[in-house]
């Protein structure tokens, strides 16, 4: 802390805590040459330095929060803070785009976060003699600087240098200059030295501190340009630079929905008291919502956290005496038609069908206009769910909500949800927006999602399979069984194309299930219509048959079948 107004060349003050071994190995294998060795040595030096900077964090918390707000205000435009502070690490930097090349980035942050509480880890001063000179004590940026350091590990540099791309070179020049304000000549020096080695230049820069606002400005412009380029760089290459680890190698088993649910139930909800306070604030608005609904507005709730409980509470506390419709938008098979049908059938007690949802809507409109005593509250959880976010669905719902005696209160969660509505729809909806951040876990909403990590029980597929099969003849079931058994036998063969039609016909004949080619074909057509099987033509023109259901479901199915028979 010797130079409170010192330069901002503090990259080397952070320790790299976590580098997966295989990554290091890959490096050495990838980048041969002297550079590697140099940099590696450097790495080991830098490992010894520690996160001394953290001490300064609390001093300038307020400032940081301010910057944060600035950033939020700028809404991700990555605008630099107008003060033009040379280190260029405003909010935009913290959240700015990271190139996809650093596979260990996340781990670094994780270890960093894990470290945070023990800020006062005494750094070993004797081990890093240069540190005092290099550490810039511009405490204001200390924390962010540390992050920046993370983003410019020698590790990354090496990768960069390995690729003789002109853009990359200029980019790393930028990253050198953006964190420290240097003399122009110094900058030149950096760029000239750059191909060889980076660190010496930086050390030099640290010793010549005068900041230049014009330079900073230049850097800023450059940065905006870079941001754009970075975007396209990131999206142009199809090469994926992440580690190759898969969940299967993990010794943990995949959880299924039920155990997941049980586990989460046991886990205590963090900050329950605060969340309760938050929810109570929202609950105090209930009567206001009611008033505004009656005055012709509709209400939409947004913000992080499940709003299901909130709406449910609203329903139970205020809507008990009136007709209301609850729509669970997150339900995977919800459609606009089912919403409209439940209105016509259950609210209006109309029996009969409609040709199209538009007709149905017209009917509802007419009924509600004729009978002014009719009124209906509609609560939609997740108006932005997959099934309801389509243009036509939204149009119909908007028209429905524009009826004066239908009161709509809905919740949205997706970050792009407002894009569903154009001006016409917005004016039909006549929204009043309410921010209701609840921090409640999305328990119901995510339970239907096909998460990668959750083992699918396949119960839905199984039951539909059973259902269809039961309505078929015994012979047909036998045919399907044959196919299923054959598929299960071959389940270990990943390139199993399916059972060819000829073989299948042979098998069926042997089992006395069909007597001619034609009957089997007729049967298969029926299966195909019910989406029980899929056919595809192989390279040799032979038709292959496949059941598009995963193996476990198929096993379950066969077991069930055996029970039945």
């Amino acid at each position: 802390m010797s130079r409170p107004e010192g330069t901002r060349s503090s990259r080397r003050s952070l320790q790299v805590k976590f580098v997966p071994d295989e990554d290091v190995l890959k490096h050495i294998a990838d980048d041969a040459g002297t550079k590697v060795r140099k940099d590696k040595a450097q790495l080991s030096v830098s490992v010894k330095r520690f996160v001394k900077k953290l001490e300064n964090i609390s001093d300038n918390e307020a400032q940081e929060i301010l910057e944060e707000k600035n950033y939020v205000a700028a809404l991700g435009i990555c605008a630099q803070d107008p003060v033009g502070n040379g280190s260029n690490i405003s909010g935009g930097e913290v959240y700015s785009f990271q190139t996809p090349k650093r596979s260990s980035k996340m781990a670094e942050l994780a270890s960093e976060l894990a470290q945070t509480p023990e800020q006062n880890v005494a750094p070993d001063h004797s081990k890093c003699p240069e540190k005092m000179a290099k550490t810039p004590q511009s405490s204001k940026n200390s924390r962010r600087k540390k992050k920046e350091f993370v983003s410019t590990t020698p590790y990354r540099l090496r990768k960069r240098l390995a690729a003789p791309d002109p853009y990359l070179e200029s980019e790393s020049e930028y990253s050198a200059s953006c964190s420290e304000e240097e003399d122009e000549e110094d900058q030149k020096e950096v760029s000239s030295v750059l191909p060889g080695q980076k660190t010496p230049a930086k050390t030099k820069a640290a010793s010549t501190p005068p900041p230049r606002s014009s330079l900073a400005k230049k850097i800023k412009e450059q940065k905006m340009g870079n941001l754009v380029e970075e975007y396209f760089e990131a999206h142009s290459s199809s090469k994926v630079l992440t580690s190759d680890r898969t969940l299967q190698k993990l010794r943990k088993r995949r959880l299924n929905q039920q155990t997941l649910h049980d586990l989460l139930k046991n886990a205590p909800l963090a900050y329950a008291a605060e969340i309760r306070d938050l929810n109570q604030q929202h609950e105090s608005l209930f009567s206001k919502w009611m008033l505004q609904l009656h005055l012709g507005f509709n209400i939409v709730l947004y913000g992080l956290g499940s709003k299901r409980d909130l709406l449910e509470k609203f329903r139970t506390s205020l809507l008990q005496d009136s007709v209301h419709l609850v729509v669970n938008g997150y339900f995977p098979s919800i459609t606009v038609r089912s919403i409209l049908s439940s209105i016509t059938e259950e609210v209006l007690d109309h029996i009969g069908t409609f040709r199209s949802p538009l007709d149905q809507l017209e009917f509802i409109t007419k009924r509600f206009k004729e009978d002014s005593s009719l009124e209906l509250y509609v609560l939609i959880h997740n108006l932005d769910s997959h099934m309801l976010r389509g243009e036509r669905s939204q149009q119909i719902l908007a028209q429905l909500s524009s009826l004066p005696s239908i009161y709509l209160i809905a919740s949205i969660d997706h970050i792009n949800a407002p894009l569903m509505w154009d001006q016409a729809k917005l004016s039909l909806y006549n929204w009043l927006w309410y921010e209701t951040t609840t921090f409640n876990p999305y328990v119901e909403e995510t339970s239907y999602e096909n998460s990668l990590l959750v083992q699918q029980s396949g119960s839905l597929a199984l039951s539909s399979l059973m259902h269809v099969l039961h309505s078929l003849t015994l012979n047909a079931r036998g045919i399907f069984r044959l196919l299923a058994q054959h598929q299960l036998e071959k389940k270990d063969n990943p390139s199993y194309p399916g059972l060819s039609f000829q073989d299948f016909y042979q098998k069926c004949r042997e089992a006395f299930l069909v007597n001619s080619d034609l009957t089997l074909r007729a049967q298969l057509t029926e299966f195909r219509d019910h989406k029980l099987i899929r056919t595809k033509r192989g390279a040799d023109g032979v038709e292959y048959l496949l059941i598009p259901v995963d193996d476990s479901t198929l096993t379950d199915f066969l077991e069930k079948e055996d029970e039945d028979v």
Binding site: A62, S243, L264, N328, E375, I415, W433
Partner: protein, 706 residues
Amino acid sequence: GCFVFKPSTKKRRLSEKTGHDFRTTSNDSEDTELRFVTCQSLWNQIKSETEQIQEDLNKQLLDNLVSFLSRSHSEFQEKTTEWTCRMKFREIPSAALVLGVNITDHDLTFRGLSDVLQDNITPYVALLEAKDCPGIKNLMQKLMGQLMNCEIDVDSLEDEECVQVSQNRIRCSMSSLISWYKSVTKKTDSETPSKKRNSSSRHWQSPPVVVIFKDMESFTTKVLQDFIVISSQHIHELPLVLVFGIATSPMIIHRLLPHSVSSLLCIELFQSLSCKEHLSTIIDKLLLTSRFPFKLGGKVLQVLINIFLYHDFSVQNFIKGFQLCIVEHFYSQPLSVLCCQLVDVKKRVYSLSHDQCENIRRLPSFRRYVEKQESGKQIELLTNDSFLKEETEKLLEDLHVYHENYVSILRCLHVFTSSLPKYPLGKQIRELHCACLENRVWETQEYESSLQLARMLNKTDLVTMLQQCVEILMSSSGKEFDKTVEKLKEFLTQFQNLEEASQERDVSVSSQKELQKKTDLYHLQKTLLELKESRRSKKLTKFEMLRFEVVDYIDSLVRKYLVPADDRTLHEIMYFNAATVLRGHLNAAPRTALHTALNNPHWYLKNQALKCDGGGISNKAPDICIVYKLHLECGRLINLVDWLEAFSTVVMAAEEPNADAASSDQVDDIIHARFIRAVSELELLGFIKPSKQKTDHVARLTWGGC
């Protein structure tokens, strides 16, 4: 996924309910009923006013359209040669209605249009929207449905049954439409006019069929083309008139339709009033008037105008915002019960309860007022309720008077500022209004510069402005302006005198000059130089002095009357100032809220543990925040295993103190489960999605920080 809940008990009436909601909101239930009633009546008044304005503004347009429509088919009526001539070319008379981009306002215009048409021209009007007509078949179906329904309107309901049946049975084709039209017109011919409603007597014998395309741009080209081509074939049998509603520019017709099709149309162009003018009229009639006691504060008005200018250009939305302001004001301000017409104020003030009196005393503007009084009166005001009521009544009257004067003087000032070059105080009166509401306008730099410019106005401009001001002040209801008007008139006469005097002098000067001109160039140059010098040293002419006087007088008026409302005592009762609330409800930013919640949970959850630093987040933050933060560090694809590992590192570190039975399977599973939950929550929020590019990877859907 849908559940209907029906109550077992009988429902209550709607009006009761609404009032009930209003009541439960505030703690003091005494005035809420009255407040609600006041609010509703005020809103109804304003609503009818806006509708009236809309109607007036559209009148010109509708009149033009009506005359066009009656012209377009008169020839068909009379079967003149001109018609047959046009028929040969198979041209359909059509009107292109350029309405501007504020599509949300168009509905009202079209409704008005079809009403006017049905009253004056023809009962056969069909309104078509693009979303109902994805194909020509749907279009015909919709068209016939609407036409045959309106036929029912005209006739008695006796043959409803048969029409319903026929609509379903008849194939929707042009020929069936024509046969329907023939039968209908024949029927009307045979029927006596007395049987029909009185308005239909105004219809011709074979009225035209008007088809209105509400939003021409969104129709598919194919449908439009087909319809036009088909109907042009039948134009001699069916007097069709098309009306296209256009949001962009008339060019779109030619872009949508190829020449062969557009040549079948005989288009006449109509332009509606621009939405900005509409807004100006609304502001003029609703805000710059003393008819309504409720007023918008400067910031609130700014928010509403910004939403209008930068988001939708929709007057409808502006009015919606205004309605929200009214509701919010009456809902949240218990003293808004006094926000009523001056006549009622006295009664209402005297029926105030003690609590309400305390509310008055708590108003910041009233406290400021009390502090300015001498001590005896201060004590009276703070302790004696009836004295307070008297004072309140007086202050409210003052406020009313202030507002009346404010509006007149504002208009006068606007007369001056709107003609200055570069408009330092804005071109529109709404900008000036905002500036005056915001702060003391005479302290701003813009006002300074506009005064400077006003001091350089020429005489004719100045005189016309003064005349305008006199007119404005004469017509205003304020009583204080007699003197002002007199003063202004005095200025005018002075200018008049000045003019006469100068004319005389002008003549003499010019004659002198003419004499001099006869001399040589050298002399001319000399005299000019002299003139210049003399002007530099010369003191101001009479005109300039007078001009200064006028400008100073206007300045004094501004200083006296255009005091910002915030400085007035009890302004809280009349003015709605909660701009942030309004913005939150009308112009929300859901994504920012999400971002704040994820990056800075402490903003919402007031827990000390979350506060640890500003830039990053603490490792004790909710799971989703940590997972989000970690995912920000990744590129396009994220490896789930790495992610999980990073997550568990963070979480383990946070729980270190009590995790002595370290990394037991139980804990591990729970962390795993928590991770799964957080990841699927991020998926729900739209930050990531599953990817098939690589096993166990998810793709990031956002780029950069948010």
